[in-house]
């Protein structure tokens, strides 16, 4: 029951984006994929979704090569939600969520009972049921994100790959979205999310995979992966750590490493 990359190397437009990526993911876990801008996180997500073929190495799903599967079979098993996904036409939220059922539907067939149930469940889960008849231009960014997440959930895939799901959300909806992704993983799906917010990643994810310069530089439980040394080397930040009132540990990126408060202050004019 795993989605795995074996010695994957990816070259796009003549540039090596990823190299030596070896990664075995399990279902039932929520994995955070973090790294600075340009580290190759989105590319890795696209490779895992089977959208880019690596030049070297291979990606396997439950032991079978992803590239050998039919498009529909792959789409039923691995759902993906990409960053900056725009909605090109003013479709209703329900129509957007229904797109998640495409891999399950035969040509020219309508929605089956199972499709209807999956759509309703996905909309209830992301709390967009009341928006079903609203069209895209009238949604806030949070509502749009939740509608798109419902679309991905409607696939009912064993794997859910998400690119920056919380970037456009307010704090309450960020927490909701992270809790939802964790809940999806507890229901048995493997969830991989590209995240920029290290605090949220450390709080919600079971496992953190850190990419830097197209290579995998750390992989493990949040406190194992996000060490002070790694944060300084890869992200160029230092972090505050502590124990929250509810007993969970938190980590909060606090300052650029090697830059003192005085020099911070010097940048501010006046």
């Amino acid at each position: 029951m795993s989605l795995a990359a074996h010695d994957v190397r990816v070259v796009l437009g003549g540039r090596t984006i990823l190299s030596d990526i070896g990664l075995a993911l399990e279902r039932g876990r929520f994995v955070g994929l973090v790294g600075p801008n340009g580290a190759g996180k989105t590319t890795l997500l696209r490779v895992l979704a089977g959208l880019i073929a690596p030049v070297d190495g291979r990606v396997t799903l439950e032991g079978h090569a992803l590239s050998g599967m039919s498009r529909d079979a792959r789409a039923r098993r691995v759902a993906a939600l990409f960053q900056g996904a725009v909605i090109g036409w003013p479709m209703t939220v329900r129509e957007i969520v229904a797109l998640g059922r495409l891999p399950h539907r035969r040509a020219f067939a309508g929605l089956s009972e199972a499709d209807e149930t999956a759509i309703a469940q996905a909309m209830a889960r992301t709390d967009v049921g009341h928006l079903a008849d609203r069209t895209e231009p009238t949604l806030s960014s949070g509502e749009r994100m939740r509608a798109l997440l419902a679309r991905a959930l409607a696939v009912e895939a064993a794997w859910l790959l998400v690119d920056e799901p919380v970037t456009a959300l307010d704090p309450a909806h960020q927490l909701d979205a992270m809790a939802l992704l964790r809940a999806v993983s507890r229901d048995g799906a493997g969830v991989v999310a590209v995240l920029h917010d290290l605090a949220l990643a450390a709080r919600f994810c079971d496992r953190i995979v850190v990419l830097s310069g197209g290579r995998l530089v750390a992989d493990g439980r949040p406190e194992e992966a996000l060490t002070d040394a790694l944060l300084a080397r890869v992200f160029g930040v230092t972090a505050e750590r502590g124990l929250a009132a509810d007993g969970t540990r938190y980590i909060l990126p606090w300052a650029r490493s090697g830059i003192t408060e005085e020099s911070d202050g010097a940048i501010i004019p006046g």
Binding site: A80, F82, P90, E95, L102, R105, A120, A124
Partner: protein, 348 residues
């Protein structure tokens, strides 16, 4: 599954209103297409006894009314429906695929290439010796354009690359058409070409119908098959691919389908503008914005519009007869301006 979810499921299945409205629109447009095709047969310049002509035709008597019916009226009516359906369907498919409400059937340069092919035949003087030379030239032009575009599309170039190639192809074909006009040996030949380019359905024969019908049907099938893919592409190419859509296959089907339908349409009727651009905008308020949902209704509405315009051309009885392409543009352009202004008002 818990209670709220069950309630939601039943409320969504109750709300099958949208597909039902779409089916009603399709049925009404289908009826209108049939009615207007019959009207188009009945309406002409000369008073014409349709039942008598039909009776003669069925009985195999080669009377003048039977000939007029078989050789002129029926081909004209059929072509109106066929060309209109092709334009409406291709317009909806192109707008859906390119996620651009201003795309029209000619955006990939296929119409211009077909027109160029016909003009070359005109210019070469072949049109006089063989009645089908003109449409065959047009189809050849569209075929060359489709091959070039498919070569590009198969290499996996982006949507933007495809649009730019279409613009390039369109400009080149336009320039070569202008060159042919410029070098035309006498002004009458040039005038004839210009008139043909304006688009018309008059004096076409059943041969024209038989020539374009099979090509159009294949083209329609290819474009209608992309409905779910167009829906998925609303969320971008990556998401569509993650839903199991083969992006290259969709591109090839659309380019080939548009070339077959619009290429053969332009080849038999000349350029009829604005139908493909305006019709999808008319249909969206009725059937919703989902691109796949507007394909078939747009095709039918295109047929209705072209048939109605062609009847109008004959009822107006100006001399010379107004060209169909001129009428559709005259009616379509102000309509489109109103539509865009309304749209802007709604967004603001």
């Amino acid at each position: 599954m818990n209670a709220p979810v069950t309630a939601l499921a039943s409320s969504t299945s109750r709300r099958q209103g949208a597909p039902r409205a779409r089916r009603a629109v399709i049925a009404l447009l289908g009826l209108a297409t049939v009615a207007l095709t019959l009207a188009s047969v009945a309406i002409g310049y000369a008073p014409f006894d349709v039942p008598a002509a039909c009776a003669d035709l069925v009985a195999g008597r080669t009377t003048l009314p039977a000939l007029v019916l078989w050789e002129l009226r029926i081909p004209r009516a059929l072509l109106g429906g066929l060309v209109g359906f092709s334009l409406g369907l291709t317009g909806a498919a192109m707008q859906g695929y390119l996620r651009n409400p201003l795309a029209d059937p000619g955006i990939l340069g296929i119409s211009s290439a077909a027109a160029l092919g016909a003009v070359i035949v005109f210019y070469g003087g072949l049109a006089a010796s063989l009645s089908l030379a003109l449409p065959l030239g047009g189809i050849a032009g569209a075929g060359v354009a489709a091959l070039l575009l498919n070569a590009l599309a198969a290499r996996g170039s982006s949507t933007l690359g495809l649009i730019l190639a279409g613009i390039g192809l369109s400009s080149l074909a336009g320039a070569l058409t202008a060159l042919a006009l410029n070098l035309s040996p006498n002004p009458y030949a040039a005038l004839e070409i210009v008139f043909w380019l304006m688009g018309s359905l008059s004096d076409r024969s059943l041969d024209h119908v038989l020539l374009c019908l099979p090509l159009m049907i294949v083209g329609w099938g290819l474009m209608l098959s992309t409905g779910p893919a167009l829906d998925a592409l609303t969320l971008g190419e990556d998401t569509a691919a993650s839903l199991g859509i083969g992006l290259v296959s969709v591109r090839l089907r659309l380019v080939t389908g548009a070339a077959l339908a619009v290429g053969s349409g332009v080849a038999v009727s000349g350029a009829i503008g604005f139908v493909g651009l305006a019709v999808p905008h008319l249909m969206r308020p009725l059937v919703g914005a989902r691109p796949g949902a507007s394909l078939l209704p747009s095709g039918l509405a295109g047929a209705v519009l072209v048939l109605a315009a062609d009847i109008g051309v004959r009822l107006l009885a100006t001399r010379p007869e107004l060209k169909l392409g001129v009428v559709t543009a005259l009616v379509g352009a102000p309509f489109l301006i109103v539509l865009l202004l309304q749209n802007r008002g709604r967004r603001a």
